[in-house]
Amino acid sequence: MKITVDTDLCEVHGDCVVAAPDIFDIGEDDDVVQILNAEPGEEYRAAIVQATKMCPVAAIKIEG
């Protein structure tokens, strides 16, 4: 599974960080979210799917 974030859309709402803290993070001054692990294992799928649903601007995409 590969994770991408559309950086034009992301408004650092941080809902993805709440849903999947091992995959996403936000620094205090960041304009876009950081992907900590862009190719995570299957065990993270449920949390990442939740993150995609929580994101107010639907910026997160899962491939595979």
Partner: protein, 393 residues
Amino acid sequence: MQNVVVVGGGLAGFRFVQSLRDAGYDGAVTVVSEEEHLPYDRPPLSKQLLAGTFTEEQCALPGEAAEVEWKLGRRAERLDRDLRVVVLDDGSEVAYDGLLIATGRRARRWDGALPSVGVHTLRDLADTAAFRADIGADARVVIIGAGFIGCEVAATLRKEGVDVTIVDVAAHPMPVMGPEIGARAARIHEAEGVRFRLGKGVAAIEGDDRVTGVRLEDGELLEASVVLVAVGSLPNSEWFTDAGLAMDRGVVICDETCAVLDANGAVVPEVFAAGDIAAWPHRHAEGAACIEHWSNARDMADLAARNLLLAVEERTALASVPTFWSDQYNVKIKSAGFLRAVDTWTIVEEDADKPSLLAEGHRNGELVGAVAFNMNRSIIGYQRSLANVKVGT
């Protein structure tokens, strides 16, 4: 469950349908909505759409809502719970075995005489387009109401150099964040050139044809070519007020599963509500609270859809932490928790130059909320800690 009907095609209605399909429901879904548009997002209206950086199309809510019968431009006029039908404004009836009430709110209008041109409210796409079109080159805009929408509109217009004055009876802008944060927010706006008249009531909006100004109760006249009335919102509940449901200040009361209660306080298992039209028993609220935030509509609608498909005893409780965001100039305001419960605000960290700020809100010594300006990481910690507080403590 064969026939799910959703009344109101805003964020809550849309998320509900998506979540229903995600949960595997394959029966019929009908969405009745007064607006002609497919569901769209409201937060950009006072920000990107007003600024012209988004088109109306870019405000559409993302994602699919598969196989829905849309009844757009149709208003629900009555709910008959005995017959389980919703009666629409063309006299037709839509039968349901599962119903979502998601009719949200509308902008509160000025009650008093008004000039016929130049006075606006801002809740939907059409409002935003009309307001935008009215702001000419040397417009003087007076905004009545220093809440979030008033402040966001001020920030958007100041970026273009439009002359803006904000009036409010409150002593600080965005009063839900308390006086300490409010005073700092006022300074940020003033540094950008916004004039405030705080602690001032409006006596009248003046002008015969086009608006000419706003008269304050102390006699001062604020000249204006355009006025935005941003004094809060009213629930769109008229269509179900005689349906025997439990109501509080015009909104319907739900239990913690988002199912509505009847006037005797009993759960109505086939009727749910979500978003700005619904109140639910947040642990820091007195009774049920109506939380008019984007994230609340999302969370209630997602849960309501899943619970509708379950037997009453299998349903789960809402664990949503109220959160909101607001973008003003280069400041990202974010909150976590139920701010109306706060009795004492404490500024924990601050850098006035950046500007950034972190504040905690307590009630009787217990942390119930937090607000951050440009501290996107710190606020996430509060979202987590406020979520993990055990219910009942």
